[in-house]
Amino acid sequence: MKNKECVAMLLAGGQGTRLKSLTKRIAKPAVFFGGKYRIIDFPLSNCTNSGIDTVGVLTQYEPLILNNYIGIGSSWDLDRKYGGVSVLPPHMQSEGGGWYTGTANAIYRNIKFLTQFEPEHVLVLSGDHIYKMDYSAMLDYHKGSGADATISVIEVPWEEASRFGIMNTDDTGRINEFDEKPAEPKSNLASMGVYIFKWDVLKQYLIEDNENEESSHDFGKDIIPALLYDYKKLMAYTFEGYWKDVGTVDSLWAANMDLLKDEPELNLNDHSWRIYSKNPNQPAQYISSCATVKNALINEGCRIYGTVDTSIIFYGVQAGEGSVVKDSVIMPEVKIGRNVKINRAIIAKGSVIEDNAVIGDPSPGSEITLVADEGSVMASSYATNR
């Protein structure tokens, strides 16, 4: 069978503990975003839109919903006869087995998956960032520069640079140093966790890394430093556009609120770069005669009788008369009773908010309140930060 030029490996195994109870029962890439999507829709849609039709999804933590969601990949047009999407959980082999111990280990343990496509290049992605990126442009850059590895970077504000993995480059864009969360960053080029490797080079380093008992088997901590140590050619590819790590409750909330700006940096309504998703079958949304909706994203299947202001409402949400939802993210199938007040909150899927409940702290800058998965908030109780 013909070989594939580039195969993507999507790291979707993370628990995402900083998302608190949102990831109690689901993996972080399956967390909801933007009124309709799950985080993993973004890298998967980017693959489809970039013409990459072979994707391995590495799962480990709470895989049921994620596996179910990905299915045969038809939602992203990745149901292909040769290639398509494959879910790759940890597995037993004759020499034993165990959990993936790091990002590099996860790819190492799936060398057989990659070998069957004989790819020239491997694109490694993480499943927890919100962005629209043309990987084919990065691949062209990678091939043009003859690099062994290309790392996608984004300029971050200098004061935040010490939170990221920072690339120090020469003026041709070649990376000569990599600092993981440096105290005094020498550059503001942060790694986005998007890598393209020459497959033969990567394979060799993965095998060597696996034999190294000192290694933590991580791309950022082990593989990239090892490549740099051997003077391999690593190039930085600068990405311009919206990119957000939604790893915490606050950043997830903020990224959702970014969609409500007048001209949002991340345009979900762009037909030339659609974000594909599994579409639930729901009738059109109904906005009643007593409803007020301002500055909001609302999905199908909702019924709004109250006030929605500066909020993101997923499918199948009901908001009762007299209720006010402000600066909040309401995940699918949440039932909000009458005269409820919700401010600066994320309400997880399937929650029931009873009449007269008050949730969240409206004062600007206060912490975002999270109502847990399928929780029920009783009347006159006050949900606290969990």
């Binding site: 906005i287 909001a296 199908e300």
Partner: protein
């Protein structure tokens, strides 16, 4: 378990929705913000666990085929059974069939090969939510040859004038099929018949030079066959004119009506479009409306239905109107009692006002 197959017979449906059916058949007319008329018929069949469905199409079926594809949206992309779109392709020189019997004759293999014991035959103009398995149960209990589905309507709207009405005796037997305008038992253009009997009736009709299966094979044999009636008690919309399209669309803004058509247990399926959620701006003011995904609303919308991907500009006012897919209503435009077909643009500041009883219809892809 008795198996059912379905036939959606569009052959005798007229393209009566003026501008909305210039370029498409009635079954492909968009309805209820994100559906096409035929979605309701197909969803009724699939929700009744019918896995083999034929669609008899004769005219203007391009957009219908585009919409139905392989039937994936209804889970009908099956190896066994599935969706069969059957437009005319009739090359048998010995074929003497006429009218909609041409469809039955030329697609007799569908009837012969299906694993089903019974066949439901329906159209696309009646919008309702039914489980045909209940009707089948009644059909078997009554030992009928044919069971016709009808509704006893409270009000005889003008669109029912063209429907058949049924006289039903106390045993549920049909004793008359006619067009009496005062009769409230409105036949819903759907019936159940055993497969082998259907085959026999088709053969007889063709042999006698008939041209309309229901008229000749069923209505005409009222005295020979045991024809029973099954009463449907839910909501019914019959759409066979612009006025009935408009009134039944706005009926969906009535919660009770809406909930009877859209039930969680028997959802209406349609082709997926991957549109983003709808965006309401700071200046938007939307009340009593149905809105599909992908809309961008900056203006005032009341008592209206917006299909997928509609843009309403700042200062625009849309009242009692139906705006179909990807229309753009620019700023300060005013629309009242209007139906805009797909891809129309209403320029800045324009006003279009139709009469409440006679909406103004704008054909597809017009710029006003």
């Amino acid at each position: 378990m008795d198996r059912l197959a379905g036939i959606i017979n569009l052959d005798h449906e007229q393209d009566v929705l003026d501008e909305l059916t210039y370029f498409r058949c009635g079954a492909a007319v968009p309805f209820a913000a994100r559906y096409r008329m035929i979605d309701f018929a197909i969803s009724n069949l699939t929700n009744s666990r019918i896995e083999s469905i034929a669609v008899f199409a004769r005219r203007k079926y391009r957009s219908l085929m585009d919409h139905l594809e392989q039937g994936k949206a209804w889970d009908l992309d099956r190896k066994r059974g599935g969706l069969f779109i059957l437009p005319p392709d009739w090359n048998d020189p010995t074929d003497i069939s006429r009218g909609d019997l041409q469809h039955f004759h030329n697609n007799i293999d569908f009837i012969n090969r299906t694993l089903a014991d019974y066949i439901v035959i329906c159209g696309s103009q009646n919008i309702y939510n039914i489980d045909y398995r209940d009707a089948l149960e009644a059909h078997k209990q009554s030992k009928a040859d044919v069971t016709l589905i009808y509704k006893n309507v409270e009000e005889l709207y003008p669109e029912y004038a063209r429907s058949h009405k049924l006289d039903v005796d106390e045993n549920g037997r049909v004793t008359g099929i006619h067009n009496d305008l005062q009769n409230q038992n409105v036949y819903m253009d759907a019936y159940i018949v055993e497969k082998n009997l259907l085959y026999e009736l088709i053969e007889q009709c063709i042999a006698h030079g008939c041209s309309h299966f229901f008229f000749d094979g069923i209505k005409g044999k009222l005295n020979e066959l045991n024809i029973c009636a099954y009463e449907y008690k839910g909501q019914l919309s019959l759409i066979n004119s612009i006025e009935s399209y408009y009134r039944n669309s706005t009926n969906l803004l009535n919660e009770q009506f809406h909930d009877e058509i859209f039930q969680e247990a028997s959802p209406v399926f349609t082709k997926i479009k991957d549109e983003a959620p709808s965006k309401y701006s700071l200046d938007s003011n939307v009340t009593n409306s149905l809105v599909a995904n992908g809309c961008d609303i900056e203006g005032h919308v009341e008592d209206s239905i917006l299909f997928r991907g509609v843009k309403i500009g700042k200062g625009a006012v849309v009242k009692n109107s139906i705006i179909m897919q990807r229309c753009e209503v620019e700023g300060n435009a005013v629309l009242e009692n209007v139906i805009l077909d797909k891809n129309c643009t209403i320029s800045y500041g324009r006003t279009l006002i139709g009469a409440p009883e006679k909406p103004f219809v704008v054909a597809k892809q017009k710029t006003m």
